[in-house]
């Protein structure tokens, strides 16, 4: 059993938890993920690590409430325990040798982008962060991003906060103005990462995208997380989760992500009618 040390609501559909998992905290690095089960009957939920503290043994996770399993998790409080917490899985984000980077995060993906920004910042890299949300109410971790970024751009779809538009607008603007980066790292919705990759491809800027597909075991056994990268089938859990953003077949990944959409919608309705319309 793994104790919930801290719980904080970041916005109406996104929650932060610190979980006591000393073995995982010893090893986890930015870009890696964990798999948890809230209770004995729960689904295995893969979540990218949002931070960890080797001294206290705490691992931070940030999750969006999307289906039955994440609702069950969100119903637990500080001091209570979750049944399983396994990791760190996948490969850490490669940051070696990067001097100037742009990190592009979208929605809850920003939670995962933040540790990458921090790691780059701590190694002395010049970091530009571009984050995007649907509206002002959904903004998370703004102060944390500002603290670790040399340049920070906030975007909202409806213009209720920061600049109006999606994250590719400022990215393109910078690239058109002659700005270059050693690496662009993008983490967020598939469609966003697809367009970030299209934008940077034109300028031949090495770009990686962090993939978060459906998976069960996270150790290479089930093959559920497979995706096509450069025409080859890869397993996100052991080959990724970071891949060359210019080679990923996003359209296929988007369709695969919807394999259980109907089941998830039903699970949501069963748990709470309020979520029927709220969560996309």
């Amino acid at each position: 059993m793994y104790r919930i040390l801290k719980k904080r609501s970041l916005n109406p559909t996104v929650t932060l938890m610190e979980i006591e998992a000393p073995f995982v905290a010893r090893k986890a690095r930015a870009g890696q993920f964990i798999i948890l089960r809230a209770d004995e009957r729960g689904e295995r939920i893969p979540l990218t690590v949002a931070g960890c503290n080797k001294e206290t043994g705490a691992v931070t996770i940030i999750f969006q409430i999307v289906g039955g399993a994440t609702m069950t998790l969100n119903a637990l409080n500080e001091g209570e325990c979750i049944a399983d917490f396994v990791g760190p899985l996948g490969n850490p984000t490669e940051v070696e040798g990067i001097k100037k980077a742009c990190v592009v995060g979208g929605g809850v993906g920003c939670a995962i982008a933040l540790p990458v920004v921090r790691e780059l910042h701590e190694m002395g890299c010049e970091v530009t962060s571009i984050v995007g949300f649907r509206n002002k109410d959904l903004v998370i971790l703004e102060d944390e991003f500002r603290a670790a970024s040399d340049k920070f751009v906030m975007m909202t779809d409806d213009g209720s906060y920061g600049e109006k538009g999606n994250v590719t607008v400022p990215l393109k603007r910078m690239l058109e103005a002659g700005e270059t980066f050693d690496r662009v790292i993008t983490i967020g919705p598939l469609v966003m990462m697809k367009f970030v990759a299209l934008a940077t491809k034109e300028y031949n800027i090495p770009t990686v995208a962090s993939m978060n597909p459906i998976m069960i075991d996270g150790t290479g056994m089930c093959g559920g997380c497979r995706l096509t990268v450069g025409g080859e089938t890869k397993f996100a859990c052991v080959d990724g989760p970071d891949f060359d953003a210019h080679l990923i077949d996003y359209d296929e990944a988007m369709k695969r992500a919807r394999t259980y959409a109907e089941f998830e919608a039903k699970a949501r309705e069963k748990h709470c009618n309020l979520y029927k319309k709220e969560v996309k």
Binding site: F23, V24, R26, K27, R37, R41, G42, E43, R44, G68, A69, T72, A83, D84, F85, V86, G87, P88, L89, I216, D217, G218, T219, G220, M221, C222, G223, G224, R226, L227, T228, T233, F235, V238, E252, K255, R256, R258, T259, Y260, F263, E264, A267
Partner: protein, 465 residues
């Protein structure tokens, strides 16, 4: 009454009716009652040369335990099996007896062999429902060993070392111990309560089981040895990445590896009403492959509500690698066998849903390296099967996790861990066995490897101290 029962046929296994059981997940075979077991045991001639024992990878003293069953000494019979096998209730159910003990049985020359597997199962089940005494915890010998993976190889190795007094810790990546016995083999073939019982028996011997631990990630082999003081480590990490065919449409929605499909159903209990784990409830399913895993996937799909389930296999019935009984059970449950058939493309609609499977007919040519006749495509014989789900059960290639993080651990070109006949790897104090070494094989072979390695690990540690 003659000493032996000379009936040429085995006593049939009482089973659930095929058309009832293909709609539930309860165990198919119900097991012998005491009278049937005694009568079946009387079919054993107790021959001097004991060919059956040589056919068993862990050399269970078969005639000895069967004689005790015939004398109605059921607990004693179990104890004879337990001397060499750590998981009797499991083996009685999942071993390919027809190619092992029963394949060598003298009675099989003229008629059917003795139902050794059924008797083993009977003795184990009798013990599990009657035994009251907890196993005696052996005196500790002061040495620590680690077992990586809690499948049949790991559990066997752990059991043997615990009986010698070792302080044994088993590390399991998933949330439940048992490996393929819990995520792969379905409830209707191997009830999970039986696996749990076997794991509990090990715990009673003092074995510690740590779930949620992916060795190679959370801890390396070096850390286990140096930081945590394990003097020897056994790697029983099992088969790994599922194989696919690399045909068009294979990443469509509705194409699954058998591993994924079975794990959802077995480990995650997706078949139970109210489970939080989603599973694809398809109506027309094609399972590609001819092994036990393919049979398990096909029979699970039927139970999950499919109207029609096909086994698509590129060779003929004679070459099906599955246990004979599984093939027969599958047929009884109305699984349709499309033999000498190989998929060439998964057909999809505009939203990437599976709408069919394009196949080509095959014929058998000359034997290949495996000794089986090589399947050859019949030109122009392509045809389309109407299915909405395709499950690939084509075997696995070894998991790369340990290899990536363990310096000096030699592996074969395809990734299997290199180990000698005693399970010794290229690293001192590190042993390996089961599918991680051999590639996908059987439960009993993995148990045999776990047993051999336990002996070698004990010798290694004693030689050091």
């Amino acid at each position: 009454m003659s000493k032996f029962n000379m009936d040429p046929k085995k006593h049939p296994m009482p089973s659930q009716d095929p058309l009832v059981r293909n709609k539930n997940f309860k165990e198919v075979a119900l097991g012998y009652d005491e009278e049937t077991a005694v009568e079946e045991a009387r079919r054993c001639l107790n021959c001097k040369n004991k060919p059956c024992v040589a056919g068993c990878p862990v050399n269970v003293a078969i005639p000895e335990f069967i004689a005790l069953v015939a004398e109605r000494k059921f607990e004693e019979a179990y104890q004879v099996i337990a001397r060499t096998s750590s998981l009797p209730a499991v083996c009685g159910r999942v071993c390919p007896q027809e190619t092992q003990c029963e394949g060598k049985c003298t009675r099989g020359i003229k008629g059917e062999p003795v139902g050794i597997g059924r008797l083993e199962r009977f003795a184990a089940d009798w013990h599990n429902s009657h035994a009251t005494e907890a196993p005696i915890k052996p005196a500790p010998n002061g040495h620590k060993v680690a077992i990586v993976g809690s499948g049949p190889a790991g559990l066997t190795c752990a059991g043997d070392l615990a009986k010698l007094g070792y302080d044994v810790t088993v590390f399991e990546a998933l949330h439940l111990a048992g490996g393929v016995l819990v995520y792969g083999i379905p409830e209707f073939r191997l009830p999970k309560a039986i696996v749990e019982k076997e794991v509990d028996n090990l715990k009673a011997l003092g074995v510690k089981v740590m779930t949620d631990m992916v060795i190679g990630k959370v801890l390396t082999i070096d850390e286990l040895k140096e930081e945590f003081g394990f003097e020897a480590v056994f790697l029983g990490t099992g088969a790994g990445l599922p194989r696919f065919m690399n045909i068009p449409g294979e990443n469509a929605k509705g194409v699954f590896s058998a591993n994924e499909y079975l794990t959802r159903s077995n480990l995650m209990k997706a078949y139970e009403e109210g489970s939080e784990t989603p599973i694809f409830h398809a109506k027309k399913v094609a399972v590609v492959g001819g092994g036990n895993v393919a049979m398990d996937a096909a029979r699970s799909a039927k139970r999950l509500g499919a109207d029609v389930v096909y086994i698509v296999y590129r060779r003929s019935e004679a070459e099906l690698p599955a246990r004979r009984e599984e093939v027969e059970h599958a047929k009884e449950e109305e699984i349709v066998f499309k033999l000498l058939t190989n998929p060439v493309e998964v057909l999809t609609d505009s939203d990437d849903n599976v709408v069919g499977l394009r196949c080509i007919e095959m014929e058998l040519g000359e034997p290949d390296a495996s000794g089986r006749r090589r399947p050859i495509e019949k030109k122009g014989s392509e045809f389309d099967m109407d299915v909405d789900c395709v499950i690939m059960a084509l075997g696995t290639s070894p998991n790369p996790l340990l290899k990536k993080t363990t310096k000096g651990l030699d592996t074969k070109p395809r990734g299997e861990i290199v180990a000698d006949e005693n399970g010794k790897t290229s690293l001192e104090g590190v042993y390996a066995g089961g599918d991680a070494v051999t590639g996908a094989a059987t439960v009993i072979l993995a148990m045999g490897a776990g047993k051999t390695a336990a002996k070698a690990m004990d010798e290694y540690i004693r030689s050091k101290s």
